[in-house]
């Protein structure tokens, strides 16, 4: 059963330089209790997908397509209805915990706020619950810490607070946007461990550029390039049988896999090249790739790829 189903989703931004097609005709579905990894490099549009699901986009954005959550199209829900869903049913852990916590509100209050809003607890009980949440994300002496301001917390601890805040109302679906960005290696390992444990029975969309983190946490992985998905498959398939040249190139450019670079740069989201968006950087590109835009095709085993040459 799919908890979330995204059909033909398009998010465009109006800017002075032209229309930024951050998300372009994306289809994907997330099952219950599944962790789905969305991987891509800077500026490929992956963060926008999370914000689109939450309907947290600036007014310059136009969205098309459908986002079905439990069969209900989130793009048609009223703003009030959406407010009830945010935090209670779907939570997002935004990237960059340092700027995502309000500097002038106490940490406990920031967690308790969501609890008060959605669960109708009074101030005292909500605070007690907030302290429990801090404890569950392993923050030592949580009742003292709840009364402190965010600047007293280290980067790793702020990320724990963000996780506690996201999970405070026990949502059934979590979007985590680059939860380990900027953290030291040993702290990153702690956070990954914590998130695995805390979200075991929840569905999650993990947005990241870090394949290692995705490999640790995800059941399925999708790769995003220039506003569209180019490949998605169960975790093992991606690592053992990558089919799209971008996926192969991405894997090979990792230091562990020999540091073989992909030549060139990603295109800007304003003008895409004709044909396959990857053709100018691709070793396998043929005349067909320069003219026609490939569709997503299933290769069996739930493995989808957007490439004319995937079978060969």
């Amino acid at each position: 059963m799919n908890l979330l189903e995204i059909i033909n989703l398009t998010t465009h931004f109006q800017t002075p330089d032209g229309i930024v097609q951050a998300v372009d005709k994306i289809d994907l579905s997330i099952r219950e209790k599944e962790t789905f990894g969305l991987i891509g490099e800077t500026g490929c549009g992956k963060t926008v997908i999370g914000l689109t699901i939450m309907r947290l986009l600036p007014p310059t954005a136009t969205v098309g397509g459908e986002i079905l959550y439990n069969g209900k199209n989130l793009l048609e829900v009223s703003e009030t209805g959406m407010r009830k869903i945010r935090g209670e049913e779907i939570a997002i852990i935004l990237q960059n915990p340092t700027t995502s916590l309000n500097p002038v509100l106490k940490v406990g209050e920031q967690i308790a706020e969501a609890i008060r809003l959605h669960q109708g607890l009074n101030k005292h009980d909500a605070k007690k619950k907030a302290i429990e949440m801090l404890d569950s994300v392993r923050i030592s002496s949580p009742s003292r810490r709840a009364n402190e301001y965010p600047h007293k917390f280290s980067g790793g601890m702020k990320q724990r607070v963000m996780i506690a805040m996201g999970l405070a109302c026990d949502p059934s679906f979590i979007i985590a946007d680059e939860p380990t960005k900027g953290l030291d290696v040993t702290i990153k390992a702690q956070i990954v461990e914590l998130m695995k444990e805390m979200t075991e029975h929840k569905a999650m969309l993990l947005i990241t550029h870090d394949l290692g983190v995705a490999a640790e946490m995800c059941d399925r992985i999708a790769l995003m390039y220039a506003g569209e998905l180019v490949e998605y498959a169960p975790l093992d398939e991606i690592f053992e049988k990558p089919l799209h040249p971008y996926t192969i190139g991405f894997l090979n450019s990792l230091p562990k896999k020999g540091l073989v670079p992909i030549p060139g740069m990603s295109p800007s989201l304003i003008n895409f090249p004709d044909g396959c968006r990857f053709h100018s950087r691709c070793d396998y590109a043929t005349g067909e790739c320069k003219q026609k835009h490939p569709d997503m095709v299933e290769m069996g085993n739930g493995h989808f790829v957007r490439c004319f040459h995937a079978r060969s």
Partner: protein, 314 residues
């Protein structure tokens, strides 16, 4: 915290010393011999004998640095000398004038905040709307308007043509009718500055990531603005109140002169025109110490407003 206050006070000492030297030297830069200047009666006559007596009495025959130290010692003990016009202690005059200035400043400050803060917030949340544009045009005009001109125009309209309010004067201890026009004149500039600052800091706060966090929690938009954004946006505005005090003191020079308000501003202008240099000297050092103290208090009080500021070792 204690360390910080101590450090701030220690930092002020060199600046205050320079201030004191500057104020002390006013008498020496003033045209004419200070003793003669001081002993010149309102009729313009000087008595050489009394000048000589005064010289010795005031220690003016001693070397300059000794004179300075004597003077500084007196100042520290609150003795700013005597006004030659009234022959009363300078300090007494200053305190009386300061009370009038304080009254005027507080009323202007309150008026300007009441107008500026809500308008600034409204402009920010309705960015580029008619309200926003007209507020900001108004603010630009307010900042650029010479306050002596505004004062005269208000006087002309409400005092001369409409007879609603007294044209000038202090009334019986600065009563309501008398304070309205000078307070509006004085408050306009700071209201304009505050409204712009309120708007821009609100806009900045609304663009921060934590606003997104609050919305993602399902917090209603009024609460996002009223709690999450406003608390942050007010910090620079409160800082401004400290700066505003300097702004108001500056404005008081002109506004008090126009409206005949017997505060520090008109005191210093009158004293200069009357060549009452002891008084000028006293005013300068008083105003400087006052201004520095206010700035320091504002600085320290940030700690209570902005939890991000550490007053630690660094």
């Amino acid at each position: 915290m204690f360390n910080y206050v101590l450090k701030r006070i220690l930092q002020l000492i060199p600046a205050l010393l320079i201030v004191s030297v500057a104020s002390f030297s006013i008498i020496y830069f003033a045209p004419g011999d200070p003793a003669e200047t001081i002993c010149t009666g309102p009729d313009g006559n000087t008595n050489p004998e009394s000048v000589e007596k005064f010289r010795i009495e005031m220690g003016l025959d001693k070397p300059l640095h000794t004179q300075y130290l004597i003077w500084l010692n007196n100042v520290v003990h609150g003795d700013l000398g005597y006004s030659f016009r009234s022959e009363k202690p300078v300090f007494e005059h200053i305190i009386t004038a300061f009370k009038a200035t304080l009254k005027l400043s507080i009323v202007s400050l309150v008026v300007s905040l009441i107008i500026a803060v809500p308008l600034g917030i409204l402009s920010a949340i309705r960015q580029n709307s008619l309200i926003d544009v007209s507020c900001m045009v108004g603010a630009s005009l307010g900042v650029s308007m010479p306050n002596f001109w505004l004062g005269l125009l208000l006087m002309l309209l409400f005092g001369v043509y409409l007879h609603w309010l007294p044209v000038a004067g202090y009334g019986a201890g600065g009563d309501i009718e008398h304070i309205i026009l000078p307070a509006i004149t004085l408050g306009t500039g700071s209201a304009a500055v505050t409204a712009r600052l309120m708007r821009s800091s609100m806009l900045e706060a609304l663009g921060q990531d934590y606003i997104q966090t609050a919305r993602a929690k399902g917090v209603p938009e009024q609460v996002v603005i009223g709690k999450h954004a406003l608390k942050n946006a007010l910090i620079p505005v409160v800082t401004m109140v400290g700066l505003n005090f300097g702004y108001l003191l500056n404005g008081s020079v002109v506004v008090e002169t126009i409206f005949g308000w017997p505060g520090l501003g008109s005191l210093i202008v009158d004293s200069i025109n009357m060549r009452d240099y002891m008084m000028v000297q006293g005013c300068m050092i008083f105003v400087a110490v006052l201004f520095v103290a206010v700035n320091m208090i504002v600085d320290i009080s940030y700690k209570y407003i902005d939890p991000r500021i550490h007053y630690g070792a660094a």
